[in-house]
Amino acid sequence: MSILIDKNSKIITQGITGATGLFHAQGCRDYCDTQMVGGVTPGKGGTEIDGFPVFDTVEEAVTKTGANVSVIYVPPIGSADAIMEAVDAGMDLVICITEGVPVLDMVKVKQYMQGTKTRLIGPNCPGVITPGQCKIGIMPGYIHKPGPVGVVSRSGTLTYEAVWQLTSRDIGQTTCVGIGGDPVNGTSHLDALKMFEEDPDTKSVIMIGEIGGDAEEQAAEFVRDHMTKPVAAFIAGATAPPGKRMGHAGAIISGGKGDAASKKTFLRECGISVADSPAEMAEALLKVWQP
């Protein structure tokens, strides 16, 4: 078992004829034969690129391939439209990798998605991987290993760091979810924790957060009140000055809220094992859980 994706997931790539889209579609296909069944680029329907059939619309791609997941590399100007097209086509899961999507576009997308069955991950995220089964996104596959730990994070490379700390200790992962660094996104830390709690194969979780907002605190309340599995965490940005956007649009301390120290304190109060150093994420987990 796993969450969100497994070996049965059938994936299309929106923006497959772009250099980035194609490169990562190939990379995902090469990882454990992930079922990358085609792609969409308006105007290039009916052609083929490196063995991937290309369609003009997502609707057509779904009809012809039976895809249930879409991954989006469309540039920011068209990202919101691409997400809504995938939602309209009835996808179970949409993963938007694109960085730089305007926030107000995402506000509209979230409203548009209400009452639909689709789950959105991202935007501005590395994607999702279920080690040994299915990789959707830009993460390096080989650092992962199948196993019992769920990983959820706003950041890409910091997720790799946590995964690597686990894999080097011979501890594998059920699913690793990069939810993205933007203030308005599809899936929160809380959503991911709920899914990990319900997944029988996930035995413990590492949650990686950042300064800004209060999504980590909401997730921590769930851990305190409902979660039966041990959770370890790290919050990046202890040294970030207020009012400065640290790369991610969401990573900003404003109005004295969202700083790392208060987040860490709250997480600890909720029973989460918080790593003080990013080099100790796996160790923080091993303090509260043994494989």
Partner: protein, 387 residues
């Protein structure tokens, strides 16, 4: 992106939001001439810098006559204004706004921002205008009113009315407040703002509502569709090195410490700063070279770090995913050859092509300390700098 108050008011005026009449000036003679054109005093003379708290620092003054406006403007030009938002180094005043004064009967607070919790634009208002709103939120949260806005229908008249009545307006002012709030929302959405703040919104002695101050911040990711707004960017208000870095698509923020960092990915970059502090030193910067950095970009990133005189050591921390370690290694070697590295350099490489990357560093003949893992890297650079 931030803009100046006078620019914000010009945008609001285009959306039929009532703001005082005024003009920006670049010298004190113009201050007097524009004051005269505004009619009889008093006039507000306001220093234009990208920071709040200007009044307390002497950056906002009320002049009774045009000559006095000139006098105040002369004092402000060239003055380094220090407020709680500028940092101790302050900001040099180069532009001054001259405005028609008004008789204030009451002050209110209004703002719009994107609320992450609801994923909606939210209207926030309070009758405690002119105050530090963060204090109001902390001490008397019951005095703040919120309306979450459905993006499909926008701010509705009834929502605006609800807020106006809660603020205690008489019906004559409610009738002004409703279109005013709706036009503020329209500005927020059509200009892709990340923050729109009116503090204070005033009711004048003759019952008119007027936006006396205005702060507009824009979503950087949406500037591609607002070229006129993008042109309002004032480079004088920004850090030189941050501007330089942005030209190479590098995300760079100058900090106060002495250990320069170069990292791929925003989260890992923040975490690298944190681990430097964890081992008892301070980072000199945040620098994310991004996922698709080329050798040229890495070289420029290295040059920017080295141009910071505070830097006494450099930590390179790369977890290669899309980014290949050999590209980073080649960039580091290239930059070191071009500019010469006279400070300790610790490099930690992991991920794609790591062996090749380490080999390039080892064969370069440069004095580079290789590290295994983040903790080892941070310990080594802190030790090298502290001696």
């Amino acid at each position: 992106m931030n803009i100046h108050e006078y620019q914000a008011k010009a945008i609001l005026r285009n959306f039929n939001v009532p703001v005082p009449e005024g003009h920006v000036v670049y010298n004190s003679n113009s201050a007097r001439d524009w004051a005269r054109r505004l009619g009889d005093g008093p006039y507000a003379v306001k220093a234009q810098i990208h920071a709040g708290g200007r009044g307390k620092g002497g950056g906002v003054k009320i002049a009774k006559t045009a000559d006095e406006a000139k006098q105040f403007a002369r004092e402000m030009f060239g003055m380094t204004l220090v407020t709680h938002q500028t940092g101790p180094e302050g900001k040099l005043v180069k532009r001054v706004l001259i405005e028609a004064g008004c008789n204030i009967a009451d002050e209110f607070y209004v703002s719009f921002l994107v609320d992450r919790a609801t994923s909606k634009v939210t209207l926030m208002a309070s009758a405690e205008g002119g105050m530090d709103i963060e204090e109001v939120a902390a001490n008397t949260p019951e005095k703040l009113f919120f309306e979450a806005i459905n993006p499909i229908v926008g701010l509705t008249a009834f929502q605006a009315r609800k807020v106006a009545f809660k603020l205690g307006f008489e019906i004559a002012q409610v009738k002004q407040a409703v279109p005013l709030l709706m036009n503020l929302y329209k500005t927020f959405v059509e200009a892709d703002c990340s923050l729109l703040e009116i503090n204070p919104l005033v009711q004048t002695a003759d019952g008119q509502l007027l936006c006396l101050d205005a702060k507009l911040n824009f979503d950087d990711n949406a500037l591609f569709r607002h070229l006129r707004i993008r042109d309002l960017r004032d480079y004088d208000e920004e850090d030189m090195m941050e501007i330089e870095a942005s030209q190479y698509d590098l995300s760079y923020i100058a900090l106060d410490g002495n250990i320069g960092c170069m990292v791929n990915g925003a989260g890992l970059a923040m975490a690298t700063m944190d681990i430097i502090q964890h081992y008892g030193a301070s980072p000199a910067n945040f620098l994310d070279v991004g996922g698709g950095a080329t050798i040229e970009r890495v070289t420029e990133a290295f040059k920017i770090i080295l141009s910071d005189k505070k830097v006494e050591g450099i930590l390179v921390n790369i977890f290669g995913g899309i980014m290949k370690c050999d590209v980073i290694a080649t960039g580091v070697v290239e930059a070191a050859k071009q500019v010469g590295v006279k400070v300790p350099l610790v490099v930690r490489l992991e991920g794609t092509n790591v062996k090749l990357g380490k080999q390039i560093l080892a064969e370069s003949g440069l004095d580079i300390v290789s590290a295994d893992g983040m903790a080892d890297a941070a310990e080594k650079i802190v030790k090298a700098v502290k001696g």
